[in-house]
């Protein structure tokens, strides 16, 4: 049933929605409505119809309201506030104006907010750059979905391996046999000296690292835009070379390199052959390889050159030479079904292997999309060390934590300040501000602060990038910010920070009723809210967590560095022989003699690797004649007679190699203690005289001695079984035992001897202890990274605490004044302020402790030799955090305590 009175009541209430319709106006309109209804009813309308008609006649509420507003307002435009103006953002300049005023008025808080956020943002931006760089490896190819590297899965009698390398004839065969293969190229680094190819142009001599032989098809597979020359025939002739832009500049300056000649010394194959400088004609210049590709090239040499020196390369399916095969499939070819077709090639490998060695080798070829090589590597012999998800994740998390501390500062200080700002909000509301305008104002403030912080973070980023690049071995630059993949998340982050930091005052503070606020009922309620406490605990928990992690990482590092390694690491100078290797291998005794004639050189030895090198070579050993089904694997280091005494390695049984025993060079080897276990020999003494055959060269050798374990690969891993063997054909390092009292004389002498034996070859040397430290590079990288960020995090957290203490001290000025009048000492005042914060910091220690313990226990598990976490680290972190926090608070406390109470009480 239609209730007229109810309907009128509802209608009357609906009028209130228009703020221009004041009480009197509404009453008059209602009176009118009732008259009209009476009138209509008299004409025979029903209640319902009369009401509807009367309402319709009176017309639109907002139009009436607007007319009233125009009559009442002094505003020139006469535009009522509920109507949208021409510029929907008309208030935004005002928000920024008030925000700017706030920043100016509260210098300390603004400074803390801006610096905190800027540091957090800078860390995050650097990490975003890093992560994007890692994740976008090889994704810039237009048809990256069609480009694959062919990997090989090999099974033979000694084990199974996934290899990035494949036989030389595979590429051409795939291209010739399968129409699905659009292009194929081989990429072949020089055999013996892939990281140090000597290149000479007139008086310029350098070692080059990224040199490869490629088929001309490489230009049609990879993205290699030509700056000079043309891709059609650049590498189709022997002895031609295409240079990357910066390499061309290095050798030819501003001259046109096309047609120029470079002398390049490349090793084509295993074995002692004369490697010599050969002339190459420059036929093209291409853009430098991008930073984020696993295939980094400075020089590309033509495949016909390689084939001319290695005739068997096109037919040899089983040579262990390192070479890669890349193919590009036709559009719309399904890679997984294509994989199965490659079985043809697998059979060829097996056939040839059996023919040659009489044993079986099974190979399956697999396609790996080029974009997955860096982050999802599963094969051996990668071109460069693949990306590490573990560190990408850790770094991202740490950067995020730092930003979180910065944001917490902002929210925290805003929350604290909000107690003083309730009046402002209340007054604004009374004057007529709507809630959404106030929200706009607060968000405007946080946006402005975030923006200023962002500008500052750009400056900070420039400072941070340099050490970061050195640490992570990257070449990130601030220019990377313009990449959409970087700036989209960064902008999103900025918006998130601005919204997140401004949300508390924006939404909580503006929700109160102005009457409560103005009567001061709210100020009490807001002070010391839980939010504040939670945030302070959160900040310090993060800081303490990071402190504990940093300390543990450094503790582990120091432990590893301080452990007895089992060999002499000091005063050893390593010379890397990269060229003229056959001279070293044939005449090493003479070369050593010449070096030792220097008074500062006390000894010399030659070996295939030195401790700290990441050398994966190993022998598979057996005691049977032709059966390798039951083999034992030992890592191998080929050395000369002097290696064991020069390195001070302790023998626990038998003897070291002896020059007097002429047969040692062919028949003897020495193993370490771990090798005993691998070979299943119970005591060192029993090992002496045991004979084994090595899979590598099929020679029978006898164990003549056993050494104590020495940590040739660092302390992360347990010492692996190792075999020392005299095998001159693999040697390329000279170790000199030196005395460093007079570095100048020493180095002058060493250089002179070097020049005598290796004329024209640049000398590459390092000290063993520095070299060895590289085995800890991930750990020390992480340690430094954590060290920097932890310091930054602690500073930001302390800044926040400082701000809070400042605020509390101000807030309690009167209380402090009265306490002083009543006889409180400085100490009483300081402890009054410190107590509440001390409690919070302690709570945060208890929050962070278990988390850090869990994280670090897991991290340490990866190490074979590790420190105990120990209570000391936790206690130190707790005490440290407490001391730093209290020092920060006490500064404020002292200041507050030294104020003249007369002033603070009289005030107001």
């Amino acid at each position: 049933m239609f209730d007229l009175e109810e309907a009128i009541k509802k209608w009357r209430r609906s009028l209130r929605k228009n703020e221009a319709l004041e009480d009197g106006y509404r009453e008059e309109l209602e009176s009118h409505l009732r008259d009209k209804i009476d009138h209509l009813k008299a004409q025979g309308f029903s209640d319902e119809k009369a009401f509807a008609e009367a309402v319709k006649k009176i017309g639109d509420r907002d139009l009436i309201g607007e007319e009233y507003f125009k009559a009442d307002t002094k505003k020139l435009t006469g535009r009522p506030p509920w109507k949208k103006g021409l510029l929907p953002t008309a208030l935004i300049p005002n928000y920024f104006k008030t925000a700017f005023r706030k920043i100016k008025r509260q210098k300390i808080f603004s400074f803390i907010n801006i610096v905190g956020l800027a540091v957090g943002l800078a860390c995050c931006a650097v990490i975003i750059l890093y992560v994007v760089n890692e994740l976008t490896y090889d994704t810039f190819y237009k048809d990256k979905d069609r480009i694959f590297r062919v990997n090989a899965y090999q099974v033979n009698e000694v084990g199974e391996f996934y290899m990035a390398t494949t036989p030389g004839p595979l590429g051409p065969m795939l291209k010739d046999t399968f129409p699905q293969v659009e292009e194929a190229t081989r990429v072949v680094p020089p055999y013996e000296n892939p990281d140090s190819v000597l290149v000479v142009q007139k008086d310029k001599r350098f070692f080059e690292t990224h040199v490869f032989f490629v088929d001309n098809a490489a230009f049609r597979i990879f993205y290699m835009p030509f700056l000079k020359g043309s891709p059609e025939h650049a590498l189709t002739r022997p002895h031609t070379v295409v240079l990357a832009e910066s390499t061309a500049k290095k050798y030819f300056g501003d001259e046109d390199p096309i047609g120029g000649i470079l002398q390049i010394e490349v090793d084509y194959d295993i074995g002692i052959e004369r490697v010599e400088l050969q002339d190459y004609e420059v036929t093209g210049v291409i853009e430098d390889a991008p930073m984020n590709t696993h295939f980094k090239y400075d020089m590309l040499l033509s495949m016909p050159t390689f084939l001319a020196n290695r005739q068997d390369f096109d037919t040899e399916w089983v040579n262990p030479h390192t070479k890669y095969t890349y193919i590009k499939l036709q559009p719309d070819t399904d890679p997984s079904s294509f994989k199965e077709k490659m079985v043809l090639a697998s059979q060829e490998v097996t056939r040839q292997f059996e023919e040659r060695f009489g044993s079986s080798l099974k190979v399956n070829f697999d396609l790996q999309p080029i974009g997955r090589i860096h982050m999802s590597s599963y094969v051996r012999r990668e071109m460069e060390a693949p990306g590490n998800w573990y560190y990408v994740t850790i770094y991202s998390m740490v950067a995020f934590l730092i930003l979180l501390i910065g944001c917490m500062n902002f929210v925290n200080l805003s929350a604290a300040l909000s107690a003083t700002r309730t009046r402002e909000v209340g007054l604004r509301k009374v004057i007529g501000a709507q809630r959404k305008q106030l929200i706009g104002q607060f968000l405007g403030e946080s946006s402005l602060i975030t923006f200023v912080a962002f500008i500052l973070s750009l400056v900070l980023m420039n400072v941070l990038l340099c050490p970061f690049n050195r640490m992570a071995g990257t070449e990130l630059s601030i220019a990377g910010l313009t990449r959409p993949l970087v700036f989209v998340p960064l902008i999103a982050l900025l918006v998130l920070v601005a919204l997140g930091s401004g949300a508390y005052p924006a939404f909580i503070l503006t929700a109160f009723r102005p009457a409560d606020v103005l009567q001061g009922r709210l100020a009490q309620k807001l002070r010391g809210t839980g939010v504040q406490k939670v945030l302070v605990v959160g900040q310090f928990a993060i800081s303490v967590f990071l402190v504990i992690c940093t300390m543990t990482v450094f503790k582990q590092l120091n432990f590893m560095r301080g452990q007895a390694l089992g060999f002499d690491i000091n005063q050893k100078l390593i010379l890397r022989v990269k060229s003229n290797l056959d001279h070293l291998r044939l005449d090493y005794e003479a070369i050593k003699r010449d070096f030792v004639s220097n008074p500062y050189v006390t000894g010399a030895t030659v070996s295939s690797s030195v401790p700290g090198d990441h050398d994966e070579s190993g022998y598979y050993m057996t005691t049977r004649e032709e059966d390798f089904s039951d083999t034992m694997r030992l890592k191998v280091n080929t050395v000369d007679y002097d290696f064991i005494p020069e390195y001070g390695i302790k023998m626990i049984a038998g003897r070291s190699f002896e020059k007097e025993n002429r047969s040692d060079i062919n028949e003897a080897f020495v193993i370490n203690r771990a090798g005993l276990i691998e070979l299943g020999i119970p005591t060192p003494e029993e090992a002496i005289g045991k004979r084994y055959q090595a899979h590598y060269h099929r020679m029978w050798k006898t164990i003549v001695g056993v050494t104590e374990n020495f940590h040739y690969r660092g302390m992360q891993e347990a010492v692996e079984p190792l075999l020392l063997d005299i095998e001159t054909s693999l040697m390329d390092n000279i170790t000199l035992s030196v005395s460093t009292e007079n570095m100048n004389v020493l180095m002058r002498g060493v250089r002179a001897t070097w020049e005598e034996h290796f004329p024209g070859v640049p000398i590459v040397y390092s000290f063993l202890d520095e070299n060895f430290d590289r085995v800890y590079r991930y750990e020390s990288q992480m340690g430094r990274m954590l060290g920097i960020t932890t310091t930054l995090g602690l500073i930001i957290a302390c800044l926040g605490l400082f701000g809070l203490a400042y605020f509390v001290a101000n807030f309690k000025r009167k209380e402090i004044g009265i306490r002083k009048v009543l006889g409180a000492s400085h100490w009483d005042i300081v402890s009054l302020l410190s107590k509440r914060f001390a409690g919070l910091v302690l709570v945060s220690v208890f929050v962070a402790g278990p988390l850090a313990w869990y994280a670090m226990t897991r991290w340490l598990q990866a190490f074979a030799y590790r420190v105990d976490l120990g209570w000391f680290v936790f206690a130190a972190a707790a005490v440290g955090a407490l001391v730093i926090a209290m020092a920060t608070v006490s500064i404020q406390g002292m200041k507050a305590a030294s104020l003249d109470p007369a002033n603070s009480i009289r005030n107001e």
């Binding site: 009197g24 309109l29 009118h32 009436i64 007319e67």
Partner: protein
């Protein structure tokens, strides 16, 4: 029907003229207008009130709340001295316009 602009222009003189007949409340004014115009001049009724409000602010009319016999609250409007002067002025202006239009529309002056 009379066009919107004409209604807007005539509102003030119409109200002033009606109130010259005596004190009235809003609904009465509307009824008078409807009757006298024979239904040709129709106002969106609610829009009358902001106009009255403005005229009162301008000092042309004055209002007073009264309780009517049936207990309903009504706001009565009456002319002020200034309102009467304004009415006189408006009347002269409208007459002048009226005269002009009359001349223009008389058959003699119609162009061939």
């Amino acid at each position: 029907m009379i066009s919107k602009t004409m209604v807007a222009a005539s509102t003030k003189p119409v109200i002033l003229s009606i109130l010259a007949r005596g004190e009235m409340y809003g609904y009465q004014i509307i009824q008078h207008v409807t009757e006298l115009s024979g239904g040709t001049l129709e106002w969106s009724e609610g829009m009358l009130y902001p106009v009255l409000h403005r005229m009162e602010k301008d000092g042309l009319i004055q209002s007073k709340w009264r309780i009517s016999d049936n207990g309903r609250k009504r706001k009565y409007y009456h002319l002020t001295v200034q309102g009467r002067e304004e009415l006189e002025k408006d009347r002269k202006e409208w007459m002048r316009v009226n005269k002009l239009l009359n001349r223009l529309w008389s058959p003699l002056s119609l162009p061939d």
